[in-house]
Structure formats: C-alpha cells, structure tokens
C-alpha cells in the first residue's frame, strides 16, 4: 500500500453513519454481553504527573478485582502506566492475564529525539511491558514530513521486540478526518499492531467519527493484505452507553473478528465503574448506590 495516496473522507457522511450506529437499541441479553465485552476491553489508565507507586498499586488491585461482588465478570484487558511504573505494576499483575501497557516515546508531546524515544521504549520493555503506546510526531506530520513519521514508527516498532505497538495519532491535533486517515495509513504501513486515537491530554480526545475513519483504514488494510490491526479509542469515553455505541460501530464495521480485547481496547479510567453500575442494574432491576463500587 502507498501510504501517501490519500483516501478521501467526507465528514458529513461520517457523521451520518455515526448517527445511524447510535440509533441502534441494545437491550436485555445483548446489552449484558456488550457491557461485559466492553469491560474486558478496557485499558485501565493512570497517566498523571503525580502518579506514585502507591497509586499504581491501587490501580492494579482494581484491575484484578473490578467488582468481585458480581459473579462471572471478566477482568479488564490491561493497565496503562508510564515506563517508570511498569515494574511496580508487574509485581502486582504478574501472571494474572491482565497485560501491562506503557506509554513511551516522550509521551504525550513526542517532542524529543529518536534516540531518547527508543531508549524510553527500551526501558518500558525491559521492565516488563507487554504493550507500548507510542505517540507520533504531529509537528512533522503537519509539516508534511510523512517519511519522517513513518521511519520513526518503524524504528520504535523494532525496539518493541515482542511487545505489541499501539500508535497514538493524537487526532485532536490533526484537525481533519483526511489527516486522520492519512496518519492511520502511515502508522499501519510502518508496522503498528494497534492504532490509537489520543493521549487523553488533548481535547477532543476519542470521538466516534475519528474512530470510524480509523476502523475503515484498518478494514481497507485487512482487505488488501489479510493482516489485522487493532483499534484503541482513548480518552473521553466514560459511560457504558457510549461504550456500547462504539461496540455497535466496531461490530458493523470490522465485524466479529475484532470483537475481543486482542483487537479492540478502550483507553479509559472511569468507564469501568459505569459499566459495573449498569451491569448491576441489569441484574437487580434497579440502580444501587455508587458507594458500593470501588473508586480506584
């Protein structure tokens, strides 16, 4: 695939398609299935300057015990932290099946040298990260230096070794859906295992239109090469209802093969608790107090 040949996106058409997804009515059994699946796709995230060992341990405990009072609940997919906290997370999560994702490459701005970005990646991988969430150089992209962006992603991919690479496009800084599509194509061609919308530090973060454009890029790549790429919308998805709308979009765009946490993730921190609240309501027929749900 030639990543520099632009695929044209019509924003109005994208928004109409989203409205159509959002008119789906997800009830009863399909709602419970969807909520559990969404919970199982969450990358529970803490990415703050004030993160400490204590905070990371508490988050990992939450990942292991999302809501033990509800039977047959899946775990979240992963915990997402800064490279310096990977070792701490590893101690708690060990062989639990919950993966450790680490942001790297001078997250969130990505304004640093390739040397430092590769070193950053290496530290995370050496400490035991299963997944690396890198950021692209948005400045270079907007200057039109697409080769630079491609080469950088490719270099980080090589530094990842066995770890899976998620490439954050930071779509809130790319401004147009045409740019989102182009950046998606570049990231996929350069070896991304996942493409991801946002750092969560820039508004707007994940939106459905942006996510749809990225899903369509993944679909075209799959059609051409037979290779699957994962998708991770991150930031701004905080309600169970909105998670279900994303799943409808995923289901009707990429289909059943992508309907698992191997190929789709939600980057979110407060989403898990809203899902638990809604699952509890589905089981008991009424909402219960949020005080019953742990907040870490």
């Amino acid at each position: 695939m030639d990543p520099f040949k632009s695929v044209i996106i019509d924003q109005v058409g994208i928004e109409e398609r989203i409205a159509r997804f959002n008119s789906r009515s997800i009830k009863k059994q399909s709602k419970i299935q969807g909520l559990k699946l969404a919970l199982n796709m969450i990358d529970l995230t803490t990415l703050e300057g004030k993160d400490t060992e204590g905070k990371v341990i508490q988050l990992c405990q939450k990942a292991l015990h999302v809501a033990d009072n509800i039977p047959n609940l899946p775990t979240v997919a992963a915990v997402c932290v800064y490279p310096t906290h990977v070792a701490t997370a590893k101690q708690i999560l060990k062989n639990s099946g919950v993966k450790i994702a680490s942001v790297a490459t001078a997250f969130p701005s990505g304004n640093s040298s390739l040397q430092i970005k590769l070193e950053d990646t290496k530290i995370a991988v050496d400490n035991g990260a299963d997944e690396i969430d890198m950021v692209i150089s948005r400045g270079e992209f907007l200057e039109g230096n697409y080769n630079f962006v491609f080469d950088e992603i490719n270099a980080v991919k090589n530094a990842c070794g066995a770890a899976r690479l998620k490439v954050i496009l930071e779509t809130g800084e790319l401004s147009t859906l045409d740019n989102v599509r182009k950046a998606s194509d570049i990231a996929i061609a350069a070896g991304a295992d996942f493409i991801k919308t946002s750092t969560g530090k820039i508004q707007p973060a994940a939106t459905m239109p942006v996510t749809l454009v990225m899903l369509l890029a993944i679909k075209d790549h799959y059609q051409k090469t037979g290779k699957m790429v994962g998708m991770k919308p991150a930031g701004g998805i905080s309600t169970a209802k909105s998670a279900l709308q994303y799943l409808v979009m995923l289901n009707e765009t990429l289909g059943p093969k992508w309907m698992n946490n191997e190929w789709f993730r939600f980057g979110a921190s407060s989403l898990a608790n809203d899902i638990i609240l809604q699952l509890g309501k589905e089981q008991q027929g009424a909402y219960y107090s949020k005080d019953y749900i742990s907040i870490d």
Binding site: G13, S23, I26
Partner: protein, 480 residues
Amino acid sequence: MEGFKWEYAPAPEAKDHAKLKTQYDLFINGKFVKPNSKKYFDTHSPSTLEKLAEVAEANAKDVDSAVTAAKLAYDKVWKKMPAKERSKYIFRIARVMQERARELAVIESMDGGKPIRESRDFDVPTAANHFFYYAGWADKLDYAFPNKKPKSLGVAAQIIPWNFPLLMAAWKIAPALATGNTVVLKPAESTPLTALKLAEIIQDCDLPPGVVNIINGFGNTGAAMVAHPHVNKIAFTGSTDVGKIIQKAIAGTNKKITLELGGKAANIVFDDAPIDQAVEGIVNGIFFNQGHVCCAGSRLFVQENVAEVVIRKLKERMETLIVGDPLDKNTDIGAINSKEQLDKINSYLEIGRAEGLELFQTSGSIPSKGYYCKPTLFIGAAQSNRVVQEEIFGPVLTIQTFRTIEEVIEKANNIPYGLSAGVWTDKGSKIFNLTSKLRAGVIWANTYNKFDPTSPFGGYKESGFGREGGLHGLAPYLTF
C-alpha cells in the same frame, strides 16, 4: 480467532398507546360521516397481515358532498379569514402532530410496513415541519410574490400515494391551507390510517368544518375527485400511468395541476469520491423505505476503475442491514407495502435474471410471515435492460459502469424519467458541471435522499411538473 458474533436482542416499540378504531368513516365537513356507498374496505399490516381497521369507501356522491363542503368552507369562511388567523390553525396542527408523534409513527409503521426508525426519525417530524414551515408563509404571500397579487384558487383535490402516507398528506395540505385554499384529500387505499389520525387532529384543532376533508377509496374515488366541476386544483403524487390519465381527464378545463410521478434516478460515483461514504449514500439512496421512494437512487453508475471496490464494499455494508419487524427499533428494512407490490418486485427479479444479470442478495434471513424482499443488486446491468429502464419501486439496485463523464451524463439522461439524481465526487467543479447537465429536478451531491420543507421538490419529463416544498411550493396553489 473466531471472534464474537454479537446479535442485537429484539427491541420492539410498544404499540399499546396507538389508539385505533375498528371502523373509520369519511371525514367531511369536520365530522366523521357514514359513506353513501355503504361500503367499507379493510386495511392490513403488511408485516403481521392482521386486519387493522375497516375504512369507508367514498363513491361519487360522497366525493360530491366532500367537494361541496370544501367549496362552502372556502366561500363562507376560509377565503375571508385574515391570513394570520389561518396561519394560527396551521401552527396548531403542527404542534399537535408533534405531541402525538409517537402514536403517528407507530401507526405509520403498522399500516405501511416502514421501519419505526424511519417513521419516528423522518416521516413524522418532517410532516410536522411542513406544517410549521407553511404556517409561517400564510400571511407573507405578498412578500413571497411581490407586486403579483397572489390569490387562492378554491378547492384543491389531492391524491397521495402509499409510500409516505402522512408526509405526503402534509406536503399537500400545508401549502394549500397556507395559500387560503380548502382541501379534499384521498390517501392511498393500502395506507389510510395516519391520514385518518390527521383528520382527528384537525378536528381537535377546531379547524373550521369543511376546510380539510379526508375521504378514502380506490381509483374510482380519485377519478370522481378529478372530474368534479367545483375542483379548481389537482395535486397528485403517484404513478406516471395514473398521472397521464388525470391529465387526459382534465383536458379542456381550467383546473390547475401538479404531478409528482415516478422516477428512476441515476446515482453516480466517480473515482475521486469518498468511497466509504458513497457506499453509505448508495444504501440510503435505494434501501430507504424499502426502495418505495419515487426519487430512490435505483440506477447506480460507478466509474470502472473503482467499480470492483465499490461493489465489494456495498455488498459488505448490505450484510449489516437488518430486515424484519417494522416496529423493531433496530430494523433497517421493513415490510414491502402490499402483496401487489411484492409480486411486482418479484416479477422484476425474474426479468433481471432472465436478462442474464448477476443477482446479489444478502445472506441474512427474512421473516416467514408478511411481505418481505431482501436487499438486491443487479450487477453488470446496461441501458438496454428492462430492470434499468422501468421503475421497480423496491429494494432493488441496478449497477452499471462508465468510463467518462460525457458517457455517464448521456446514460443518466437516457430515460423517460427525471425526478432526481446523485453525484459523488470530491471535486466541486465536477459537481457543478453535472448538475447543469443532468435532466433531473433534484440533484444531491455527496449525499442522498435529503428532504426539507424549505427546499422545492419535483420532476422533469415523465416524472411530472410543478414543485412542492419551499417558496416554489406556494405558487401552484395561487393565481396571480
């Protein structure tokens, strides 16, 4: 990894709030009255096949009393009423329609088979919007047509089709009332119920008796309306065949007429189009309302160098369409309106097969009960195929390819119809080039099937004449 097949659980819209009587009479002079014909006919749900109600059939005498009531109301009340008072009544109808939107939507889907998603999100709100829009014009006609002294005509006989029963009633009644005319309206025989609900709303709004009369029946009823000497204006939406009969019938009279007839629209996709969004537009163009749309984009033209990818993506998208119970909120394609129409569509599927075209239908199931048709493509079609030339009025799309812009313009215009067209390209200059050369009343660029009360709608050639909607929609109800 196989992945997870997520099925949506049934999400049926409740219908207990939709109040239907077992028998409906003729709405004449503000009251429901027994028909002189003494005859009633049944209206059925095309999805469950259950009988929904009995509806009075108007004969020539009933038509005469309806037209007489309309003429009296025109002469004695409506013509003399200050325009701003007229407009208040129209606003009132719009507001009550909004209040009863849910009930109207449910009945529309029960009686006509269209998915509740469409009747709820499109038909009913757009119908109410037409009343709102034309209510605003009622006292501003002198500004709409400056120095032309617009005057109302008298009695308008309006005959509407079964594909958008309530919306077509609104398209017809709202401009007629705003311009100071009175109305005799005949809904289609297979979908009379929402118009009768509208009659109840009109009654509740205290519209002066006789200003709007709603009568039901078949072709004979319509013919009696057209022939009645006190009718000053005829507005018809329906088939081209009936449109021709009407025009013959009024030859030599000075009745004004607007006809909105059939169509076979070209939906043209160029290689520089936003392909995924174009595919969505193709789907909306042909599968909206089961393809029972006179302006449906039923002839797809794809540039040859992108034909393969467009057809593949279109097939994939079609597989996600849910065909089934019109009242389920997740249904994309509901029931075909009647057995007669389903038979007609099926006969065209046979014709297409016999012409040797490649037929594609989606793999999903359709309900065993009721009138249903799977979304269908005829691939590799040509101008010489009957399925390309004739209006099918169902979820059936023919696909033709083209090489150059000149070729596609010529082919798109090579049809007796000229109601609508669609153009998909990222190039603005190409859009303007095509819109000036395509012989169609409505042309959508990078979208399809968009309707708004402010926008005129109507056809070229055998798709009819006269415009409905917008400022242009006032003129056919006025004399200058």
